[in-house]
């Protein structure tokens, strides 16, 4: 646990983004998979998932842009601004294509960079599916959901959906913050939470709108129960991986939320209500609604607790520094698990470019106040 870092101040916008993005991704990969494998058994239920995914991913875009210190530069996530300026100076699109083609920027080892592209692709896929699900039949439905194009869309969409659900956790782990970077289990936990909150939202909306046949909804409940059990296992993995640092985490209010409230509210209560609904012959709708609502509340608590705990640990760092072990981080021969370098920065030697894909060394004119050179 590295206690010497600064707080990135990722606050409520990001908590909401992780929560809303999880629902959108979960609803979308569930809807796509159900449509792919369910056939007639899917009973129009995927439509509900598509209704959820696209509006929420638009909301995600807004939340993420608002969170930037310079929202006017949100597009720098995807393209190199100076290349775009260069292309525009050459009267793009009538010229300057070389510069424009060199503009897209993807750092495959940076979760935020890949995640930005994944969100763009996810927005496209979910937008098309949304168009295809506005009506229950017609040209759009045949073209965007029932044709071979629809199949490809569902396949790609479900994969991108899984990615969007999990990458936020990998993004947190790919830092040096306490808690986040001490465990690889945040990403799979976010993924299972996306599945359970996505299913919960689909079930609620299906009940409200009357779209999606009850048998299909019942099958989705079964998926949700399995997803919740998986979430419980992943949560146990998270706790075990953090055992060494349990005390500093537990000593913060958000840490207690994470360890107690998240599994209780987000996993155990929904499971209990599903079980109660299953045992009850009349299948009281209230149990289903309660299970879904607790799932959603748990998903929100999870994002809040995970995002806010490191800051609280850092606030107490003066009392922890002498006691917190820092294990060797996977280098070959260190004994720690290491799956090899995935970024050119890893093992970079002096003089090499490393993870700077567009090294402009020597090109830039830094601001200066040296007389005559300002």
């Amino acid at each position: 646990m590295n206690l010497f870092v600064a707080d990135p101040e990722w606050g409520w916008w990001i908590v909401f983004y992780f929560f809303v993005g999880g629902i959108a991704a979960g609803a979308y990969f569930l809807a796509s998979l159900i449509e792919l494998v369910g056939g007639p058994l899917s009973g129009d239920l995927p439509r509900v998932g598509y209704w959820i995914a696209f509006p929420l991913v638009l909301l995600c875009g807004i939340l993420l842009t608002v969170d930037l210190e310079r929202p006017d530069r949100f597009w720098h996530m995807l393209v190199r601004s100076e290349k775009v300026h260069e292309a525009l100076n050459q009267n793009w699109p009538s010229g300057g294509w070389d510069a424009m083609l060199g503009a897209p920027l993807l750092k495959r080892w940076s979760p935020m960079s890949v995640g930005s592209w994944a969100l763009a692709v996810f927005g496209l896929c979910s937008g098309l599916s949304f168009l295809g699900s506005l009506r229950s039949e017609g040209l759009m439905v045949r073209l965007l959901r029932q044709s071979w194009f629809g199949r490809i869309l569902q396949l790609v969409g479900s994969l991108v959906g899984f990615f969007v659900a999990a990458y936020t956790g990998t993004l947190l782990s790919a830092t040096n913050q306490p808690l986040w970077s001490d465990t690889p289990w945040v990403a799979p936990l976010f993924l299972t939470s996306a599945a359970s909150t996505g299913a919960a939202t689909m079930l609620l909306l299906s009940r409200l709108s009357g779209v999606g046949c009850p048998e299909a909804a019942e099958r989705l409940e079964r998926v949700d129960v399995l997803a919740l059990i998986l979430e419980l296992l992943v949560f146990a993995g998270l706790l075990v991986s953090l055992a060494t640092w349990f005390k500093p985490i537990w000593d913060t209010p958000q840490g207690k939320l994470l360890v107690v409230a998240v599994p209780a509210v987000g996993i155990l209560l929904p499971l209990a209500f599903y079980l109660a609904g299953h045992l009850n012959a009349r299948r009281a709708p209230a149990t289903l609604v309660l299970a879904a609502l607790f799932s959603l509340a748990g998903g929100m608590l999870l994002r809040y607790a995970i995002l806010k705990t490191p800051r609280e640990i850092l606030a107490e760092r003066s009392s922890l520094i002498s006691t917190m072990p820092e294990p060797p981080y996977g280098t070959p021969g260190s004994g720690a698990a290491w799956l090899g370098a995935i970024s050119p920065e890893d093992g970079r030697q002096s003089g090499q470019a490393g993870a700077d894909p567009v090294n402009r060394a020597g090109e830039l004119q830094p601001r200066t106040k040296i007389p005559g050179l300002e």
């Binding site: 949100f74 899984f162 790919a174 990403a187 402009r360």
Partner: protein, 275 residues
């Protein structure tokens, strides 16, 4: 290509004068750090920290150098000693901030230093969370609002001048020069101190063990943690493979759950056959 350059900071000769801080503020036009707005609507200078002679507190968007004062007392508190250390961006050979930056705003200069190109930064703060030393902070200046840190006086290097802090340091605690020469100098200095009986003298970041080597490395006389330096900082990408692998496995199980629930062989076989 010019040679790789670095700082070798010998903390044993630091006298805590903060000339480096002043020189840095002056050259880089960094204003004084003010506190949050008070009841009169104005921002005032920060009150005294009460932490030894350190009133800078920490590195920040406006303090790119920070002289740390670490007070050490014997158990009976009859003897006291100060450790002083001028902290700065380490300009890592394997730089966590540069690795995660999604906009390409953080880049490596021809001098092998790490530089934030402000016009490209969009303020996502991933570099802040990635830096294992807590160096990078977001500018509070409404005209900037981008990530800020030591530039290694990139503009001065371009014109064959030493960085302002190193030039100002009166005891040569901060030494500037070609990295290879500095590493030689540092090793001989440790040998000298060891021979003189300072058995705890050690280097931090001079070899490749800390993030492939630090271009700003240190001579310390206590554990790195005592100086507020992490013992084993890591590259953010080191966590990506396991995190991805576990996510893929979890996704597969989730997919299987859907398959299991929507492809039941026992129920409604007539529908399955017609499908």
């Amino acid at each position: 290509m010019p040679e790789a350059v670095g700082f070798f900071t010998d903390t044993t000769v630091c006298i805590g004068c903060k000339a480096c801080e002043v020189a840095c503020h002056q050259w880089n036009d960094l204003p004084a750090q003010l506190g949050p707005p008070q009841s009169d609507g104005l921002r005032h200078p920060l009150p005294l920290t009460g932490d030894s002679y350190d009133n800078t507190g920490s590195l920040s968007d406006l303090n790119w150098r920070h002289v740390k004062f670490i007070e050490q007392f014997s158990p009976d508190r009859k003897q006291a000693a100060w450790l002083m250390m001028s902290d700065v961006c380490k300009h890592c050979a394997n730089a966590p901030c540069l690795e995660v930056c999604p906009t390409g705003a953080i880049l490596r200069t021809e001098f092998d230093t790490v530089y934030i190109h402000e016009p490209a930064c969009n303020g996502c703060r991933d570099c802040v969370s990635a830096c294992p030393f807590g160096v990078i902070h977001m500018s509070q200046d409404p005209n900037k609002l981008v990530a800020q840190k030591c530039t290694f006086c990139y503009d001065r290097l371009r014109h064959d001048l030493a960085p302002a802090c190193a030039q100002a340091c009166p005891t040569q605690s901060i030494m500037f020069g070609p990295l290879k020469q500095l590493q030689e100098k540092a090793r001989s200095r440790v040998r000298q101190l060891q021979q003189e009986g300072v058995k705890s003298a050690r280097l931090y970041g001079e070899d490749k063990t800390i993030l492939g080597g630090l271009n700003a490395f240190y001579l310390l006389v206590d554990r790195p943690e005592t100086y507020g330096l992490p013992a084993n900082p890591k590259l953010p990408s080191r966590k990506v493979p396991w995190s991805s692998f576990l996510s893929i496995v979890t996704a597969l199980f989730t997919g299987l759950a859907v398959l299991f629930a929507f492809r039941s062989r026992t129920e409604r076989p007539e529908v399955r056959e017609s499908a």
